[in-house]
Structure formats: C-alpha cells, structure tokens
Symmetry: D4
Subunit: 200 residues, 8 copies
Amino acid sequence: MGKTPEQILEIAKKILNYSSVLLVTRTTIETFKLLKKEIRNIEFSSISNIIYTPLDIPDDNLSEGITVICAGTSDISVAEEAAITGYLMKNKVRKIYDVGVAGIHRLVSFKDELNRSNVIIAVAGMEGALPGVVSSMVDCLVIGVPTSVGYGTSFKGISPLLTMLNSCSPGVVVVNIDNGFGAGYVAGIINRVIKRGKST
Amino acid sequence: MGKTPEQILEIAKKILNYSSVLLVTRTTIETFKLLKKEIRNIEFSSISNIIYTPLDIPDDNLSEGITVICAGTSDISVAEEAAITGYLMKNKVRKIYDVGVAGIHRLVSFKDELNRSNVIIAVAGMEGALPGVVSSMVDCLVIGVPTSVGYGTSFKGISPLLTMLNSCSPGVVVVNIDNGFGAGYVAGIINRVIKRGKST
Amino acid sequence: MGKTPEQILEIAKKILNYSSVLLVTRTTIETFKLLKKEIRNIEFSSISNIIYTPLDIPDDNLSEGITVICAGTSDISVAEEAAITGYLMKNKVRKIYDVGVAGIHRLVSFKDELNRSNVIIAVAGMEGALPGVVSSMVDCLVIGVPTSVGYGTSFKGISPLLTMLNSCSPGVVVVNIDNGFGAGYVAGIINRVIKRGKST
Amino acid sequence: MGKTPEQILEIAKKILNYSSVLLVTRTTIETFKLLKKEIRNIEFSSISNIIYTPLDIPDDNLSEGITVICAGTSDISVAEEAAITGYLMKNKVRKIYDVGVAGIHRLVSFKDELNRSNVIIAVAGMEGALPGVVSSMVDCLVIGVPTSVGYGTSFKGISPLLTMLNSCSPGVVVVNIDNGFGAGYVAGIINRVIKRGKST
Amino acid sequence: MGKTPEQILEIAKKILNYSSVLLVTRTTIETFKLLKKEIRNIEFSSISNIIYTPLDIPDDNLSEGITVICAGTSDISVAEEAAITGYLMKNKVRKIYDVGVAGIHRLVSFKDELNRSNVIIAVAGMEGALPGVVSSMVDCLVIGVPTSVGYGTSFKGISPLLTMLNSCSPGVVVVNIDNGFGAGYVAGIINRVIKRGKST
Amino acid sequence: MGKTPEQILEIAKKILNYSSVLLVTRTTIETFKLLKKEIRNIEFSSISNIIYTPLDIPDDNLSEGITVICAGTSDISVAEEAAITGYLMKNKVRKIYDVGVAGIHRLVSFKDELNRSNVIIAVAGMEGALPGVVSSMVDCLVIGVPTSVGYGTSFKGISPLLTMLNSCSPGVVVVNIDNGFGAGYVAGIINRVIKRGKST
Amino acid sequence: MGKTPEQILEIAKKILNYSSVLLVTRTTIETFKLLKKEIRNIEFSSISNIIYTPLDIPDDNLSEGITVICAGTSDISVAEEAAITGYLMKNKVRKIYDVGVAGIHRLVSFKDELNRSNVIIAVAGMEGALPGVVSSMVDCLVIGVPTSVGYGTSFKGISPLLTMLNSCSPGVVVVNIDNGFGAGYVAGIINRVIKRGKST
Amino acid sequence: MGKTPEQILEIAKKILNYSSVLLVTRTTIETFKLLKKEIRNIEFSSISNIIYTPLDIPDDNLSEGITVICAGTSDISVAEEAAITGYLMKNKVRKIYDVGVAGIHRLVSFKDELNRSNVIIAVAGMEGALPGVVSSMVDCLVIGVPTSVGYGTSFKGISPLLTMLNSCSPGVVVVNIDNGFGAGYVAGIINRVIKRGKST
C-alpha cells in the first residue's frame, strides 16, 4: 500500500534472509518483474496480483481440509488470495469457484464435498449470502470474506459484510472486505492446530 | 403514527362512509377496543397489530396467486401485515411461515409450491437472504420485505435491506423496512392486473 | 465488472450456444468491436453501454404494457438499460424520457397515457421523487430505479433510493441504484405472467 | 432540552423583563401549567407543544405573505411550530395542512393560492417530496422542513432532508429536521425585509 | 453532468431561442470554446467553470442587497457560482472573499457592511462555521453553502452541511453541497420580491 | 427477540423432546421462573441473561483449549454468553475477565497462559483493541466479539467492530456485535474438529 | 455503565484503599446515597451526575491555567464533568459557562481572559463551532468536547464532533462525545507537566 | 488544496515578507521546483510532500520533549508532517517509526524512552490502536492521528479515528484524519507553554 516497487524489493530480500516463504499481496506485474531480476524462486498470480514463493515440498505432504468457495469471475481474485495463502501454510486447498446462491440447487448438490472440510472460506460480494447458506449445509467453521466488487448499494463491500455478520447460521465468522489473505491465514492456523492434534 | 385512538376512530368512520374496506396498521389493542364500540364489523390481528374489516365474499371468490414466506417467529408480524393487505384486495394468500435459508434443504423442497405463485412476498430480517434464494428457485416476481428485528449490525433492518437490493437473482424488488402493507398492496395490484388480463 | 473483453467474448459465445438472446450491460464500445468480429447479430447502445442481440420477431408480436419514464439526459442511460431488457423479453416498451417533477404540470398531463400500462419503470436521480408522484397518478405497479448521477448529498444514488423506499404512494417498489436491467427484467416477468393469464 | 420546568420558568421571566414576546418550543403541558401560575398572558399549543404569548395587535395589522403547507396529521406539529413562530413575528400565516404529493392533482390545484405568497414553508416527512413539487409550481422561495416522523428508511428525517437538499427545483432551501421554529423565523425575517422595502 | 460539449451546445442554442440568459455550471473551457464558435455573446469564468451571457443593462440598474462571503481560495469557485447566478438575475452582488472564522476579529469588523444586505450567501467548507457566525451578527437571512473541498472528516462537504443545519443562530438556511447556483438563485428571487414590494 | 415467555416455554419443551441441551439467550429472570415450573434441570445466568441446561458429565470429560478474555465489568455479560455456549458444547472454558489494553503490561504477562489455547475469544467494547493485541501474542485463532456497551462514538459497537475487522494481526476473525453465542459456538466447532483429529 | 450501585460501592471502597481520590461519572443520586452510608468524605454534583471526594488542600495551593467554556444550560453537565476532573487533579479551574458563537461579540470580548490559560476546554453541542472560534483568539491548546444534546442532524454529537475535527484553527484537539472526564484529565496532565517544568 | 503552483508561489512570497518560516503541506515536487527558482532557502520532504524553510538555529537550541511514533511505511508520510511541523516550532522531535501493536512486546520495551516525552504524537491507520496502548504506558498527553491508508472497513481513516476517540486510556486526544500538521502544531504549542513555564 503506497510502497514503491523498490521498497518492496528491499523488504522482500530482507524477509527471504530469515524465511523461505514470501507473499506480497495487492501488488503489480511491474513489481514482480523487478523482483524476478534479483529473486529467482518466485511466481506471480495475475488473477489475484500476488507474488509468492512456491513451496519446495511434494503435494502429498500438504494437509487436506481447507476449501475455498465463490460464485464466479468477480470474486476469484480474492478467493485466489485466500487459496495461495493457505497453500503457503502447507495446505492442499480445494477450490470451488463457480457455485453461488443464484444457482441454489447446484450449491446444495455440493453438500457432501463441502462436509469433507475442516474449515471453509466463502468469498462473496453484492448480497453476500453464500457463507450463511454454506454454513447451513455443513458443521465446520465458515470464514466469510466480503468483496468490494459490485455497484450501487453494495457500497464497496459493506452490504456483503453486513450480510455475513448477520448470518442466521451461527458457524460463520468474518474478516475485512477483500481480505483473502486474512481468511487464508486463519484457515491455515486452524488446520495446523488440527494437524498438531492428530499427531499428538 | 402519532395519531391518538380518538383521531383514528374519526378517520375510520370517515373512510367507512365511502368504502367497505378499513385497514389500520401499526395500531394497538386499545385502539381496536375503542373502534369496536362504534364500528361493528372489524377484527384485530394481535400478531401484526392490525385492525381490519373482514371481507364479505366467499373464499372461493378470492384470487389465487400470492404467497407470503418467512422464516419464523420474529418476522411473522410483518408477514401477516402483508398477508392481510393482500387478502383485503380479494386474494386467497398462501402462507409459508417456517422456512428460511438456515434450513436450506427444507427451503429447496418448496420449489414446486412456490412456483405456483404469480408473485411471492419474502419477509426477512438480519441477513435478509431469503428473497434472493427464493428468487433463484422461481420465475415470478419476488417482493423482499426487510424487517427491523435483530440486533447489532442488522441496524434495524438496514442489513437485510441492502442484501435484498444487491440480490444476485434479478427478479427481486424491495419495499421499505417493515413495510408489509406496501408489499401486500403491490402484490394485490399485480394480481389484479393478471386477473383482469385473464377475463379479457 | 472486472471482466476483460476477451473474457466477455468467451462467455458470450457460450451463452449463444444455448440461447438466442445475449445482453451485456456496463460494457464498452471496445468490447463490442471485439465481439462483433466473431458474433454477427449484435448491436451496441452507446447511450446505455449495452451489447445485445436484436429480436428476430415482428414488432406486432411484442407485448404492450411496459412504460419507462425519466426526466432527462442524465437518467436516460439507465432508462435505456431497462427498456432494452424489457424489449429482449419480447415487449414493446413505451418510453417517456423528458418528463419530471420539476415540470409538474407537464407530468400530470401524462396521466391517461401512463394509465395504459401494466407496469411502469420510473428512473430518477438526485431527489428521486418521480416514482412516488407517478404512482399517485396510476393504479398499476411502479418500479423505482434510483440513479447515481448527481453531486453533493445525492450520495451516488442513496438520496433517490431513500426517497423511493419512503414513497407516500404504496404502489412503488425499488431496485438497486442504476439497476436498469433488474427493473426491466422484473417488468418483463410481470408482463409475461399477465400475458400468460390472458391466454389461459 | 434538558431544562427543568423550573429552569424554564426562570428563563421565561427574565425574557419577559425586556421583551413582550415569549416562545418556548419542545415543551410540555406540565411546564405550561407551572408558567401559567406566574405569567398571565401565555397560551399553549398542544399540537406543537409550544408555550407562547399571543400578540396584542389586531389581525389586520399582521403582514400577509407567509404560507405553511403540509400533507397531514403526522407533520402538523412541526407545521404549527413554524406557523406560530411566523405569527409571533407579526404575520398572518396562511395554513394548508391537508395537501401532499400522494394527491398530486389536489396539490396542483393550489397553484394560484400558493403563488400569492412571499415565502412558503413546506413541511414533510418520509419521502419529503413536497417542497420540490411546490417549488416547481411557484416563483417564490420554498423553505423545506424535514420531519422525523416515519419508520424504516426515513431514518428519523434523514430521508426527507436529503430529498429536499437534492430538489430539482432550484428555489428550495432547507432547515434542520423538525426545525419548525427556524423555518418560521426565516420566513418572518424575509417578510419583514419585504415589508420594510414596501414602506421605503 | 455527463453531457457532452456537443449536447450542451445544442441545449444552449435551444435556450437562447426563447431567453436572453444562458448559464452553464460545472462545465469546462473546452465546452466554452465549442460554444463560442456559434454563440457570440458568452463569457467564461475560469474560477467557477461557468459559461454565461453577460447582462445587457447598465450596472446602475442592478439591484443592491445580495452579499456573498467566504474565507478564501478553496471556496471561491462555489462563491463565484453563487455571485454570477445572482448577477444574471439582475443584482449587483457584493463579494467578501477573504474573511473567515479563523480570523474572528476581522470577521466581526465587517458587521456594518454585512448588515446592509437583504440576504447573505455564506460559503464554507471543512468546519462550516461561517454562516452561523455571520448570522449572529446580522438580522437578515443567511444562506449557507457547504463546499466539498477539504480532506479527512470533512467527508466531501457533509461536515460543513451538518454544522450549518445545526446553526445556533436561527436565521440560517442551507442548500446542497457545492450548490452555489441554488444559493444565488434563491437570493435572486428573495431580492426580486423585495424590489417588487418597494415598487408597489 | 419479541418472543413472549409463554412462546419460549413452548419452544423450549419442543427442543428438549429431541435434545438434552437447551440454551436461551437474551432472556429474563421472569422467563426463567416460568420455565423452571415445568422444566426441572435448567439454570439461569443473571450476568448474561441466559437460561441453559447444565451438562450431565464430569468436568474431566470436558475438552480444554478454549479461552475467553475481556477487560472488565461492562463486557462480562457477552463474555459469559460465549463461555456458557462453549461449555454446552462440552468444553472446559478458561476465563480471563479482568485484563485489557489499558493495562498493557498485565496483558502481556498472560502470554504463556493464552498460548495454551486452541482458540481464544476476545470480547471488547469502545476502542475494541483487545483481540488484535492478543493475536499479536499468540499463534492460534482469535475470535473478536465487539460489544455495544459504551457511549458517544462507540456507536453501539460499530467502533470496536471496525477496529477488529482492521486488526493489524492477521489471526483475528469477527462475529456480530454482542454475539457471544456465535463466538462460543464457533470456538466449540473448532475445538470439536481438533479433538476429532486427535482421536483419529 | 451497566454497573449496579452495589458494584460501584464495592469498587469505590477498593479504590479508596490505595488512593485518596474517588471520581464516579455518569452515576445517579441513588448511587450517591448508597455510597454516602459507608464513605464519609464524598460529594455529589447533581448537574453532572458525578460523585467525588473533595480535595483536602487549600484553594491557594491549586494550580491556575485551566479554563472551561461553554454556551449554556445544555452543555453545563459535560462542562462540569471536565471542571471537576481538572479540580481533582489539583487545579483551580476557571469556568465561563454562558458564552457562545451565537453571541459572537460577547465571546470576542473574553479574548484577554481566555489568553491567561495554559489550556482551554471548549464544550459545545449542535453546530460545535465554539472550540474553533476560541482557538482563533488564543495561542494555547483548545480541547473540544462535543456534546450529544440537540436534535435532528446533530446526530447525538456527531455534528459538533465533525465540526471540531475540521476546525480551521490548528490548535484544536478533540475527545469523545460527552467525554468531559477525558478533557479534564488531559488538561490536568498538561498543566502538571507545565508546573513540573516551572519547578525545575 | 486546489491551489496552482503559481498561486502557492505567490502566497509563499507574501508569507516570507513578514515571517522567516514557510510550511506548505500536501504539495508536490513540481511546486517545489517552481518555488525553488525564486525562494532560496527551502527544502522538500518527498516522504510527506512538504516544502519548508529549515531553521537557522543550532540543534542544541531546540527544545526536547516531543516524540512521534508510528508502526511503519504506510504511516510515515503523516508522521513526518507532524515531525517537521514540530521542528519548525523549534523542537528537536524524537522519531520512533517502526513500532506498532502488532509487535506488542517490542512496543512495551519502549516504555522508558516514551516516558521521557512531554507530549507524544501517535500516528496509526487501519485498527488505530497505537495511541491507546501508548497512552497506557505513559503519563503524558498522547495526540492520536488517524491515517487514511488501508482498505475495506478502514473507511479512509474512519476506523482508526473511532478507535482513538474511544480509547480506554483517558490521556488520548484526536485530530482530523491525516492531519499531521495539526498534531505537530498542538505538540509545539504545548511544549512552548512548558518551556515558558520553565523560564518563568
């Protein structure tokens, strides 16, 4: 936010001195190109405008249990931010990116698949009803992420934020508007505690 | 609003001079008792705090086609206001008062029944997702009525109002918070035009 | 919303595989030019920034009964979005685009013409009084569409939205700010039910 | 506001030491009874909860030119506050208390009567369209007074306030919600300047 | 608003067919250059972005009595819009453009000059206290015009708007944010009524 | 919400037909007394106005891992609602009810104790900084519950709600204002999944 | 806030175990009567609903330099809360309780007296212009305290809060609505640092 | 704000006629380059976009006692505006620019250093908890400056503004969003009064 590509490069190099994981959200392809010159092992997600270091471990060693769901094109950017964050915390994230309340029968048909999750991230703009309806179908935590896409009375995410805070289904919590990173991070720490439990 | 029982009595008598229909919303049992002394043919709905004149025509002469749906106890008051208004416009109003998005499977099972309507009034507070989900299941108009019940960020009906205005399903229109009367009235004039069409 | 012209082209082609109707709102002339290369039968409304497929049926086969009214230049874009949507649902939409409450005598003189409608779409920004005043002159449904044009305390459409929700005349319902599509769609399904009624 | 009847009595006596006019708004019948014991020449308007000293001059000496208009029962309290204030500034205030935009034809029929004013105070709650429509019919100043009566999205007067600020007709100014006193006072000083002009 | 220079030219020519006065607010120098090609007698105010037709009458025939006051650079644009509007209604508008509440002693020294007005337009952004303080010094009407200049909690004019609506001094009325035209127009019709009074 | 004690009694009896757990929030001592007459095994928490059925299992069989923290008297009501809900889901909930950011050194000293949790519920009104600061000290999930206690710009919980949504520490999620039940429920389902993991 | 008189008594006794100063704001005469039974040396300010322990030192030992100013009856309650708080921090607080911007000449005449302060607390509701105007007259800090008295668009203190935050005069800071205690406390710590400076 | 570089140059030259100090905030490098041509002794802070005249006195003659603290990159711009303002009032401002509540242990370790201040300026965006937590560690005044950086529900500084106004710690006052200048100015006048006290 307000940081120049040069500032980000400097910060990135500092981080990689003591960590193998780098994650830069809300960035640009220009910044990626600059970083790429000096940092080898990074990738760019053009959908979510994220720079990150792919993991160096086999897929089979990733943990199952996190699902990210959203209704379509407009919300995928934020959904991917959540998914990549979860992935960087060593999770194999399941993605369902074309299911929403406007196609309620299709959504209902995902009940069993959704119930195989430890935690679900539901991303939605405009009316923001997805997390509540998903929560009514499962018995694990649903993290609602309101998005700022939309027009008129969606008020840049306030409308879906309120919908999620007022969910009739009690298993829904909320993070800030467009905060895919926060949702992915929270899903990651929950899944880590669960995994730790298993290995106890 | 702000009118004394005596003022309402006077207005009621004036109305009944030129009309056989009387409808007083947002009133009290005390006002009803006062009116009852001078106006014979009125009833009181304690659930919706409405005074009205029951119709003088057989049930079979009422028009089918209007359905009122809400999730439960908290919203029934407004739902009944809509239903009675529709009834006074000579409609046999179907009522589904215990179905909401928190029980999404049950709601989905009503698809066929809902599709037998010309127009549906969906009443909901808090997250207010019901009209949008109902609309995704039918191909007639859904009138959303946000209610002011709730707490915290439901903001006395603003949250469900925004949800309904932002519905992903395009067949939803909205009336003012708690405005069961307006919804019933609109349903009534739509059904009247349809009926008129039929008899052409 | 956030979709690239290429994404829209792809989606458009998919839609035309199973439907003869295409409607793309909030788009650009650039996107139209791209689509035009691969899709023959489309037109562009530069006033409302809409791409659509003109109907393949004679005008006389369109249904009467939908009127769109607005006060002038600023609101025509949204009014046209409503009108084209209604047209695509096989209606001959009557348009009155130069009548507002600032010229109250002129508006009142349209009473008879307005009363020939099954449903009226009234588009207005700033004070947003048009739907309420129109409703006081007719006995059919009026769908109010608030627009975001204006400055200062019109708050990008919030002021006319509130005016319409608070209309003294009970026959007014409201859709989201600038949602001409939604208004046209709702008018279309109402007129369809009426027509269906007639043919019963 | 927050003042006890005893405090008001004390203040009232102080005022009457140097002025023959007393005006206490937003007060109660209890306060009036207390004041009446010690101050002879005061009256109480139970509709607007105002204590005031009736003028000691013949009606014919009052100035013409101020009109107060509102649609009905709910807004009369504020309208009377404006009217009494104008009266105390030595004006014969014309009152039209049963005309609103919901009866647009009736309102339009008042055109000539309204045009006999120097300044018009239009009081309205809920949608608040009255001042704008009145202004479109006259060529003098219209002072809009939004009222807090209503429910739902009238938001205790915010909705009519916004409507009036966004009036399409340029001759409308606005005072605070429920501020009948301010409107009456402004009408009074305008009429005084006009009168002064005449006598020059 | 949203009108192209070509549309404005067309409208301008239509207006000049039946009126000798043209006033285009919120326009640009580009539009002025286009109009200038076809309409001879127009001028452009670069401070307020207004195109207008200068009056064809001697200054001495203009009416006195309107004063426009503001604190400085930021608000002059709106103040000039008010002043030009008043001028086009045949008034000689007095301008005080460098006096604000931040220099309270200087403001107070203008008391006599301000009291020579029939009506004062006070333009202010940010805290918006100017109209109230001016009103405490005079006994004529003060029209407050909140401006959208500023940052942070001035909220694009909401803060000064609220200040003016809540003015402790009762002789203040308010128009929409940045609505210099409205304020000038209202001042003009008040001064016209006063003048008419004088000539009676 | 709006339910009479009699309605609650009826609903309670229905619930106990198929469940051994009853939880009634936002209720009153009067309702408790009525229920107590017909339902033996219930208790009343006067601090949180909750009626509930105490568990029938030894404390040692409850799961560890949930902590509820708040700063003091004003927030205990909501904190207890969360704690009882967690308890009814068979958890031994640790309570820290007298630690806030106003005593930052004391709060910091709880670091080790807090880190023994699987999930922490942090309840706070007014500035609402507690969840963020707690989150900066631990590496498990923190559920923030804003409370409506306070005055002025706490806006009945909006201020702490925004603070929590904007937490600099990424491990914070939020539920509705005063929604202790939702927070407790979410903590319960997270702890259940963890336990299930352990027993796998 | 929400504390019972008994809870307050208990807390008060605890405080007096380690401090000689007790200050309870937003309390009631009933609570005072209860405390008085067990705590000898306390007084009650009925204007500001405060219980406090009067200081045990001669007036001449109090520090000069703090002034509290407000316009009148409605704001005195909050002003007194500030004044008593300052007094309890061993300051002789000067009070000017009948001067406001509505009487601008009178206010200006206080210039010299105000300039004898180290810090000024200016309390104001409704338009809230007092702190800004006072600040334009002095060169010390002005602490603005918005009050919630008022009606309509004063929005329970939001209007004066915004006015103060947007003050044109740069020497104004703001505390929460009605937070007389906070303003008095801040004035006290500033004056303490100054005094400490003097004695260095 | 809205002033052209040329206007600023002219104003700057006027100011330097009677003062040796120039401070232009919210400006650009282009304006600086223009001014530099005609005014020798000015510097530009690219971090805070400020043009100012460096002081002509030795560092040892500056007063100690003002500290500016913020958490990082995003808020430094506003922090520097405060620091330069304080410096121009002849203070040696201590800067702590990399400490926030997200690293609570590090923040707590600054306790002694912070307590050496007469007044602390704490700059924070998003959750805005820094001023309150700092205030809980010191016994001098803390001036909170909310910043508009951030996204989603930080609402361009409203969220941190509310947090600061609701601070649990009573020694916090607030200035407008992004108003580093105001905070620096207030710190300057407080420190000046303290210094004056010392020299008495």
